[in-house]
């Protein structure tokens, strides 16, 4: 798309600049400031959740109990999951949405700037509540991020967990409403829905998913709270409830949640692959339809997480076929990315490296997902490390790599400085090696029967677990390099041009680098 932008630099003196000091960040309603806050928050959560993961892998480095008792281990596993999902991946995508959606659709800001501020500041509050359990008698939650009842209802400090989830949910819902209202009402003249950039499309769909399922999560934790403290028996068989019902309600939220964490990654990857192949994206509309189909299908596949609870054959078959059906729109997307690369003039800057790795490794994760979808085979794989390998392949080199690619890709636009390309590539190769050394062997131990969520394991799994731990330490340490690169780019570096990448296309590349505090006061015209 092309755009006509008027130069409004001479209007700058009309604007109030950002406030000074801490009040700038506490009271800001600027989408760029809030995007930055979200991104730094998610980076901090990524490092904290990563530290927990290092603890897990250190304990699993060799069989036996070395560093912690099983209760502490379970707490680390639980908090690793909760922090990475609700504090790492989701806020990172919301941060990208805040920075990029107004810039990409030619809007001056998000539709509801004050709500935007509130939805960010709820997040540190929620995590303060959740993490405060670390200093209490009874400790942090240790029932897994899936908090299956009645295990979780009998756990100490579960109320803190429930309130933290409620607040995170409120934050996500407000963020999503803001995204949808912004996209629906504030697009630049001439930008029809089908002309919207794919990142904006992916977030529009994600926001609808969030609005549909976050209230269901809120309902699930509310029922949990009532079971634990108010004598109800939603999930307690003794009072006529049903523990399997919990799993249905949870996964009715949980499966769309999985796509909430990957759809924005699809959008990001589409932009980056097109830029560095110097070709328009192959099949823009089919990408949109594929994402919509994935989102719709995500509501009818939840029970594939619970094939072993004793469902009738018909249900097992239905959920198996529905799950496999998702491979078709996902296949369309992978095909389109390959077709975009095909005969392109490709260069391998860091964002492109991360995006190509995303396509390859996410597809590996998708294939192991298909294996898990086969009901009779799933009885063998259920609750083994094969599942752990599967969802880490779609989340780490999937969601997390796409976030890193996005940071490298748009960092020059945010800071006005180019990052250090050599260091970026080094970070990529270390991460790429680390991820594969960590998670690929988990396929093997999983197929050999190693169960999830235990602090100890049988001797025959020792070698691959040692390999996996070494890979995890490599991956973990190389993220400190990422932190160093980002901080260095914020303060120094070669000045970036407004265009930054010669193949880049879109409204965000028509404003200066760094993007001025206020952009698109007068909407650009999109042809």
């Amino acid at each position: 798309m092309s755009a006509v932008v008027e130069n409004h630099n001479h209007h700058d003196d009309h604007h109030h600049g950002p406030k000074k000091g801490i009040m700038r960040w506490l009271t800001t309603t600027n989408h760029k400031d809030i995007g930055t806050l979200y991104l730094w928050f998610s980076f901090a959560a990524f490092l904290l959740g990563g530290a927990f993961a290092m603890g897990i892998r250190a304990e699993l480095f060799e069989p036996g109990l070395q560093l912690m008792d099983p209760i502490r281990y379970n707490q680390l596993v639980t908090m690793h999951g909760l922090i990475m999902i609700f504090g790492g991946v989701m806020p990172a995508f919301v941060g990208l949405a805040n920075w990029l959606i107004p810039l990409q659709i030619g809007a001056p800001d998000m539709a509801m700037p004050r709500m935007n501020n509130l939805s960010f500041w709820l997040l540190p509050t929620a995590f303060a509540i959740l993490l405060s359990t670390a200093f209490m008698e009874g400790g942090m939650p240790g029932f897994g991020w899936t908090f299956y009842a009645p295990l979780s209802t009998n756990y100490p400090n579960v109320a803190y967990f429930v309130f933290a989830i409620h607040i995170m949910g409120a934050s996500s819902i407000m963020g999503s409403i803001n995204v949808i209202v912004t996209i629906m009402n504030m697009r630049a003249p001439g930008m029809t829905l089908m002309k919207m950039p794919l990142f904006v499309w992916s977030w529009l769909i994600t926001a609808y998913l969030l609005i549909a399922v976050m209230p269901v999560l809120a309902g699930a934790v509310t029922m949990l709270l009532m079971d634990a403290y108010f004598g109800t028996s939603f999930f307690d068989a003794a009072g006529g409830g049903d523990p399997v019902l919990f799993q249905h309600v949870f996964w009715f939220f949980g499966h769309p949640e999985v796509y909430i964490m990957i759809l924005p990654a699809f959008g990001i990857t589409s932009h980056i692959i097109s830029t560095f192949s110097r070709k328009p994206l192959f099949g823009h509309s089919s990408m949109v339809y594929a994402m919509v189909s994935i989102a719709v299908l995500s509501f009818v596949v939840w029970a594939h997480h619970m094939f072993t609870v004793g469902m009738p054959l018909v249900a097992e078959l239905f959920f198996m076929w529905a799950t496999m059906l998702i491979a078709i729109p996902t296949g369309v997307k992978v095909f389109n990315w390959c077709a975009t690369i095909f005969k392109g003039s490709i260069t391998y800057e860091t964002p492109m490296l991360f995006s190509i790795a995303f396509v390859v490794l996410f597809t590996i994760g998708g294939f192991s997902g298909l294996m898990l979808a086969i009901t009779p085979a799933d009885f063998q794989y259920h609750d083994t490390y094969f599942v752990v390998a599967h969802f880490h392949y779609v989340l780490v080199p999937g969601a997390v790599f796409s976030i890193m690619a996005a940071v490298y890709y748009w960092l020059p636009k945010w800071t006005g400085n180019m990052y250090d390309e050599k260091m970026g590539r080094l970070h990529f190769w270390l991460s790429f090696a680390g991820v594969n050394i960590t998670f690929f062997p988990q396929h093997f131990v999983g197929l050999a029967g190693m169960p999830r969520r235990y602090a100890d394991y049988a001797l025959q799994f020792a070698e691959w677990n040692a390999v996996s731990s070494v890979g995890a330490f490599l991956f973990g340490l190389s993220q400190l390099l990422f932190l160093y690169i980002v901080v260095k780019t914020v303060f120094a570096g070669k000045k970036a041009t407004p265009q930054v990448w010669d193949g880049a296309d879109g409204l965000e590349w028509t404003v200066d680098s760094p993007a001025p505090y206020h952009t698109f006061d007068v909407p650009p015209k999109v042809k």
């Binding site: 709500m115 409403i177 209230p215 269901v216 809120a218 003794a238 019902l245 249905h248």
Partner: protein, 184 residues
């Protein structure tokens, strides 16, 4: 926003969607129970059966019923079936019993939850009388025999020859400080 977000159609409809989905999650509870009741999935059994409404046009055959018992957690109760299995004819009412002993010096209130395996046979196992229909109370060190009257209706799938009827016993309440109460 000078005119306020509540005037924004998109915002208001999204707010409505959030509210609806929150209550929908609670609607899932009765929906799930109705679904299980209609389809007989999950081995769930609902209330006493109306035996006399049945028509008797179907043939009879023999089915083996096995009785299982589980004590949940650390409930201080000994609980077992008086017979481990029974050969019954379909549509004929049979009777058996479970025996429960309170191993404490306190009065216990218990609830017992039945389950049938295979799950699809649940709708064919009809109980006319069962100790699971209401809560049971055991005095200190008391032993009781609890009766079950049931029949297996002849619509039971031909593939099923063995049906497991399982009861899980849960401790609901323990009367604390029984000795003190006697003194009063």
């Amino acid at each position: 926003m000078s005119n306020g977000p509540l005037k924004n159609k998109v915002f208001v409809s999204l707010l409505g969607a959030v509210t609806f989905m929150f209550f929908f999650s609670f609607m899932l509870v009765p929906l799930y129970n109705v679904f299980c009741e209609v389809t007989g999935l999950n081995g769930k059994i609902y209330g006493p059966s109306d035996f006399f409404k049945k028509n008797n046009e179907t043939y009879e055959r023999q089915v083996n019923i096995r009785f299982l018992s589980t004590v949940n957690g650390s409930a201080p109760v000994t609980f077992y079936p008086s017979e481990t299995n029974l050969e019954v004819m379909t549509d004929k009412v049979s009777k058996t019993s479970y025996i429960a002993t309170n191993n404490t010096n306190k009065r216990l209130t218990l609830s017992i939850v039945p389950s049938v395996s295979p799950g699809l046979a649940a709708e064919n196992v009809k109980k006319i009388q069962c100790f699971c229909f209401s809560e049971q109370t055991l005095e200190p060190y008391e032993t009781q025999e609890w009766a079950v009257r049931f029949y297996v209706d002849s619509e039971l799938s031909e593939n099923v020859n063995n049906v497991y009827l399982s009861y899980t016993l849960f401790e609901k309440e323990r009367e604390e400080m029984l000795a003190v109460n006697h003194e009063h």
